[in-house]
Symmetry: C2
Subunit: 226 residues, 2 copies
Amino acid sequence: MSKPAARIRLADAAFVLFDERGYERTTVDDIAERAGVGRTTFFRHYRSKEAVIFPDHDRLLELIRDRLATSSESTALVAVSDAVRLVLLHYIDEGDLARRRYALTSKVSALRDREIASVARYQRLFREFIADWMGDPTEAASLRAELMAAAVVAAHNHVLRRWLRGESADPVAEVDEAMREVLALFPTPQSPGGRDDDGTTLVAFRTSQDLDALLPSLRRLIEDNP
Amino acid sequence: MSKPAARIRLADAAFVLFDERGYERTTVDDIAERAGVGRTTFFRHYRSKEAVIFPDHDRLLELIRDRLATSSESTALVAVSDAVRLVLLHYIDEGDLARRRYALTSKVSALRDREIASVARYQRLFREFIADWMGDPTEAASLRAELMAAAVVAAHNHVLRRWLRGESADPVAEVDEAMREVLALFPTPQSPGGRDDDGTTLVAFRTSQDLDALLPSLRRLIEDNP
DNA sequence: CTTATGAACGGTACTCAGTACCGCACGGTG
DNA sequence: CACCGTGCGGTACTGAGTACCGTTCATAAG
């Protein structure tokens, strides 16, 4: 018990020293020394000085990949929401650690950049999954997959950052709500009927006119665009 | 004319050497030597080895900021589209240089990460502008601004990458079209009527049913939610 | 008990990016 | 001529990251 696996001690030492002296003014030697290990050992456990404060993104990415893989065509969007919730929960489980990391990434641009790069990998995963799910290889579908993936991770990050700043009491409910909003932006081709796309399409709008006053124009639109 | 401003020679040398030996296997000394200048001079012109291949993001950010600043409330979305087009045109003006950079960022993860970090700065700029424009300080509006900014830069990057890969003959037309699609995703609060929010609200959906078959339910919904 | 094996660690030495500082040459201006 | 700002080169340093080697120690095999 006096040896909590050097890896942990290194991370602890790093956080303490980064808090005390700041990130740039802390050397890897400092961290290793405080953890009571050699410098070599540090690089055995963490690829770089930056990596020591970040969660295991590779493992998280695998988690997402797994969740997405276990979905049929009709549950694809549920899988996306689930995967997003999974990531959020991972951060929440970290608790204080996640908040200390947030404080660091807010101050040190090198760390912020690295975090952003990681987020891009999640976005790529979602983009590829969504594009696959759409099946449609056209340019329009490709763009829509890109937009959707961007919106999905933006929603997650928005809620996550709110929670990190202590602005959210129930981040899970918030992320679910945010995901609903994201998915609502994109027309879902979940036509349960049978053959698709020969029904009625309504566009969304808000108006101060009465529904009855609009009906004639609506009917005309529908008739003119078969 | 034998001295095309060391800065240019350094960039040229860097691209040539990166092509020849790859990025990691090229040292700053190599670049400086090939450019016929001292190592110190390299760092006088470029903050880092990575910076030598990237365009002047600070200047581009200023360009965007300026374009966005010269917009009224009613032309905000036009300003966003213009700003996006501005960035795209900047890359197109670079021509072959932009494509060589793309080849590098596709292979070297360190460069890709840096590019992604730059993109995030553009996204932040758009997010702040859009949030300002919305005026609404609620959480819902904040999320919508985030989503919109993410979609805007995703659309730009999508078209840009297509052009970089030689898949687009008319990227400007494509980005305009993509921006229209993005803005169409978000209900525009351009209610030209007068006082707002005591009329009829329609939700967006696509169905295979006839409009007439839906009307009774619609009316019931409207009556039940005044 | 002895030996082989493999994993985890520490130490040394190296490359290279990035910074700090100093001194030199040049061109214009008084 | 003297003065001064600018651009450049050289030297020396810090610190991240890599390569390599030797040591320790626990466990399994003999």
